[in-house]
């Protein structure tokens, strides 16, 4: 990427490169006005260009400092539409399409990728992208299991990659609450409540004829084999059975999907986003099952606390605390601009993968407590449930061959 290595794309270095130089160098290639020359733009590709992926693609395409060159999706029609979107934007036919994301990652000219596949693919793709030297913007929820998170962080740190999670709501939806908490208006913060759900379920939908448009084996990837069913793989946002977000092999359900937003906003507001809980208390009350996450610093994070509204903070009435500066996006253009800015400067993005992993860990820990219907202790440093063989079984799940983290 040119901002780090201004001479990386030396077009005249080799005979092959000479042959690739266009006869007419357009003003777009050279840059004009606010548009940097092609050699100074971040070259990007996208993997999983359905619902959220299309939205992400549109956001990156709209940036003059990005040159969007490739898309990968297991649906032919989605690839075609995504290519048309890019080609229309640049008024050329250059956007390449791939069924297999590994071919996209193998391209040396691509600096960064965005990933918006179903959740069961996220860890594999993010880690593999880091191994290929790409920076990554990954849609939320970034992980499907607890074990995936540290491995994604390791890959990002190992190869010094910029890896951003994808919840724009963490900063944008909860600004007012974050401002009051960080501004000291609520005094010492004791707790916050998050109402979100449901958990995902096992999918047992009947087999339907697989349309020729989709590479079903690649859609399933590391997930357990199952027959095609339109609802099983629909990318709509339903968590009640109408989309992959409802089903345990591909998603944690609303608990992780909206949990990434709500838990992300809540842990930001009460300033525990750099931590993970150390205890999860399971309550089986007449009013319903609910949880209390306890952090080592004493902060409590309630989940679905009866008769409590979403994101209600318990502070210390009458007390004021000194205001702290509130972290925010770098660069221009929201979370996408933050990511691109950090790709250029090598800073950590607002939703650095470690913070994103901490958020989704709350969802996963809560899910395990609900599944086992009991309280748990968690060791964030060791990433396990100390002395709890039953709970530790839920840290990860075997991936279908040949997929591996």
């Amino acid at each position: 990427m040119s901002c780090r290595q201004p001479t990386r794309r030396k077009f005249l270095q080799t005979a092959a490169a000479v042959a690739s130089v266009p006869y007419v160098i357009t003003s777009k290639a050279l840059g004009q006005g606010d548009v940097p020359p092609a050699s100074d733009r971040i070259v990007m590709g996208g993997i999983g260009i359905g619902n959220m992926g299309a939205s992400d693609q549109g956001a990156f395409l709209g940036r003059p400092d990005v040159q969007y060159v490739a898309v990968s999706d297991v649906r032919e029609s989605v690839r075609k539409t995504a290519k048309e979107r890019a080609d229309q934007h640049y008024k050329n036919g250059d956007c390449q399409t791939y069924n297999d994301f590994r071919e996209l990652l193998a391209r040396d000219d691509i600096d960064a990728v965005h990933v918006a596949t179903p959740d069961h693919w996220h860890a594999i793709m993010v880690i593999e992208a880091c191994r290929h030297g790409k920076d990554v913007y990954c849609q939320k929820p970034e992980t499907l299991t607890l074990r995936e998170g540290p491995l994604m962080i390791d890959a990002a740190r190992r190869y010094a990659r910029v890896v951003s999670g994808g919840s724009q709501r963490v900063l944008e939806d909860y600004k007012e609450l974050v401002g009051r908490c960080w501004g000291g208006e609520l005094g010492e913060i004791k707790s916050i409540n998050v109402n979100v759900g449901p958990l995902s379920q096992l999918c047992n939908l009947p087999a339907e004829t697989t349309p020729p448009d989709i590479d079903w084996e690649m859609w399933l990837g590391p997930a357990a084999w199952a027959p095609y069913n339109a609802a099983r793989c629909s990318g709509n946002f339903a968590t009640d059975g109408g989309s992959w977000r409802s089903y345990v092999d591909y998603s944690g359900g609303g608990m992780t999907d909206w949990g990434a937003h709500h838990f992300g906003g809540a842990t930001f507001a009460v300033d525990v986003r750099e931590l993970q809980p150390v205890e999860i208390e399971f309550h089986n009350d007449p009013e319903g099952k609910h949880l209390t996450f306890k952090y080592a610093n004493g902060i409590l994070l309630h989940h679905n606390r009866p008769k409590t509204e979403n994101l209600v903070v318990e502070g210390t009435p009458g007390e004021k605390r000194p205001a702290k500066p509130v972290p925010t996006y770098k660069g221009e253009g929201g979370i996408y601009g933050d990511f691109i800015h950090c790709v250029k400067t090598r800073e950590k993005p607002f939703r650095d993968i470690e913070l994103a992993v901490n958020t989704v860990a709350v969802s996963h820990l809560g899910t395990i407590a609900y599944q086992l219907q009991r309280s748990l202790k968690w060791d964030p440093a060791a990433q396990h449930f100390p002395g709890d063989e039953e709970a530790n079984r839920f840290l990860d799940r075997a991936r279908r061959e040949p997929w591996q983290l």
Binding site: G133, R158, Y159, N204, L205, W225, D396, E401, Q404
Partner: protein, 234 residues
């Protein structure tokens, strides 16, 4: 109720109402403090794996054995490892059953499986951090099947003990994707050595990865690692 759920498993398939199996789901929770009932439930589930039920039914049973399985289920699960339709779900359970017999069963299968099924078993042993598998997995670094060799490299990077580091340091694969996995494994091992205080061993792993033939991100990783070994900040 539980017996009717097991009866329902005989005809259970994709499209069947999942509610028919709810008594088994409930028994997984309710038998937690009743060792006898838990073992009876496990035996009933494991027995289903040897019968002529649907792939979906066996899939369901493996999911339950992932939660409650012990050494007693290992043989029934291991018998599925060579079966293309069931190998993954057998690992789904075996990979999470803490009994050493579960790892041993997968290790034993390494010698008989090929192709993707072998890749799956290697990956599960790696994810399990099974140090007893390092010798067997190290031999697979030179497999003619690049998928197998790549899986072996990644698994050794997961296990990342001294023997794994040694095997990865000695590997010289020709296939670029296998090499990428070997390098990743070496870096993982070096990080482990560094965090455990063995800086000279970590340095020895990092140093050869500075070569000009290595990708930029690898040279960067090796440089940062070597700086850390010498106590310098970037």
């Amino acid at each position: 109720m539980l017996s009717s759920a097991f009866e329902a498993l005989k005809t259970y398939d994709w499209g069947t109402d999942r509610a028919v199996l709810a008594p088994i789901d409930e028994a997984v929770i309710s038998t937690r403090d009743d060792e006898g009932a838990r073992r009876e439930l496990e035996a009933s589930l494991a027995a289903v794996l040897g019968t002529n039920v649907s792939r979906d039914a066996k899939d369901y049973v493996c999911r339950k054995l992932m939660v409650i399985g012990t050494a007693a289920s290992v043989d029934a699960l291991a018998r599925l490892l060579p079966e293309k339709d069931h190998s993954h779900m057998a690992r789904f359970a075996l990979a999470r059953i803490p009994a050493p017999e579960a790892a041993a069963a997968m290790r034993n299968a390494l010698g008989t499986l090929n192709g993707e099924l072998k890749v799956g078993v290697i990956s599960s042993l790696g994810a399990r951090g099974d140090e007893a598998s390092v010798a067997a997995i190290s031999e697979l670094l030179t497999s003619d099947d690049p998928q197998v060799a790549r899986a072996a490299a990644l698994a050794l990077g997961d296990i990342r003990n001294a023997a794994a580091a040694q095997a990865l340091a000695a590997a010289k694969p020709a296939d670029p994707e296998v090499m990428r996995a070997v390098v990743d494994g070496r870096l993982a091992c070096a990080e482990k050595l560094l965090s455990s205080g063995d800086k000279s061993a970590a340095m020895a792993l990092y140093k050869p990865m500075l070569g000009p033939n290595q990708p930029k991100q690898v040279r960067l990783a090796a440089t940062r690692g070597m700086l850390a070994c010498t106590g310098q900040k970037e």
